[in-house]
């Protein structure tokens, strides 16, 4: 039944199912009950619409739009400058070496940031900026491996804040990561807590 509703039945399987529905009143009742329950779900949402919320949406959006400052930088600078700022801030918190430390692998994010940008020049600038920063641990096998000392609890929050920066979203560093990579990042973050 669920396969039929999902469009997964084709050809003979589909016509057999439809014949069965025609001939069996029990199957037909069951099918109609299922369809009705799904329709009721939709009705619950639609009956919850509060018109006053929607009437106020446009004025609130206009107000927000008027208050939002115009971007100081445009084009590539709008990406490069915030990323450079993030790198500089991270430089202040991350040591160049350390024995008692755990590793947080940022290579996927960095690669995505570089691959996700639509300009070769921008990719080059990002990569160059990162290579010059303390993000890169030259002693590690993976050049983008970040070393975080175990006793620095603040690191996890800082990293989370970095992930949330709009620039990361804009370059699709996070948005394009597959779920398994994201899960690994979440696990890394959780282990740092």
């Amino acid at each position: 039944m669920l396969k039929y509703l999902s469009g997964l039945l084709e050809g003979k399987e589909k016509s057999d199912f439809e014949k069965m529905l025609e001939s069996s009143s029990q199957a037909r009742d069951e099918f109609n009950t299922l369809k009705n329950r799904l329709a009721v779900m939709k009705d619950v949402y639609e009956s919850s619409v509060d018109e006053s919320y929607f009437n106020g949406l446009l004025p609130r959006m206009r107000e927000k739009l008027d208050k939002s400052p115009r971007p100081f930088f445009s084009g590539k600078l709008a990406y490069i400058i915030p990323v450079a700022a993030v790198i500089l801030i991270m430089t202040l918190f991350i040591p160049r070496s350390g024995n008692d430390s755990r590793n947080l692998d940022l290579s996927d994010i960095v690669n995505q940031m570089v691959d996700g940008s639509d300009s070769t020049e921008l990719s080059y600038n990002l990569l160059e900026g990162m290579e010059q920063s303390a993000w890169v641990n030259s002693e590690a096998e993976n050049p983008f491996e970040v070393v975080i000392p175990e006793h620095w609890d603040i690191q996890a929050d800082n990293y989370a804040a970095t992930l949330e920066m709009p620039v990361i979203d804009e370059i699709n560093g996070l948005a394009n990561l597959p779920n398994d990579k994201l899960d690994q990042i979440y696990k890394n973050l959780a282990s740092l807590k």
């Binding site: 329950r37 919320y53 949406l57 446009l58 959780a190 807590k193």
Partner: protein
Amino acid sequence: MAIDEDFELVERFVAGDETAFNQLVRKYQKRIYWHARQMLGNHLDADEVTQEVLIVLYNKLKTFSFKSSLFTWIYRIVNTRSINQLRKNKIKNIFSIDDFIGSQLKSNNDPDSDIDNREKLNKLDAVIDKLPVKQKEVFIMRNFDELSYEEISQITGRSVGGLKANYFHALKKVTERMNENE
């Protein structure tokens, strides 16, 4: 025809007619809000995403080239922003000790005033919220927004076959949970 109407409204807006944008917002705001609401499971996040999307529309509409329909483009933005918000919430939840309080505050700010409806909504949100993101988005777009698999494929960039399989798994879980709740 809806597409011609959208085209005309966008043309007017690009030419400087602000009322055309207002018309577009009125036309799509409910679908934007409800998609975000169903994806995120609470009003506060949905409101934030809805406003974000409207501002993105305002700023980017001038660059829209009608390679796809306006409706598909808007859906893609809402869906992506909703998924991003879900991921941000997931990261926040790892570090947040007041997650429970936050979620209570969020659910209590629904725009609907009817208590019975709010309870029904909360139950539905709880059922949908447990679905994996890919199953959740196809379930919402198919069941609530009544989009075809082809339209969903254009929005999500995923194959129709994969979407059908995701919808099947979502349906299975939703019906099981509905049975458990009875």
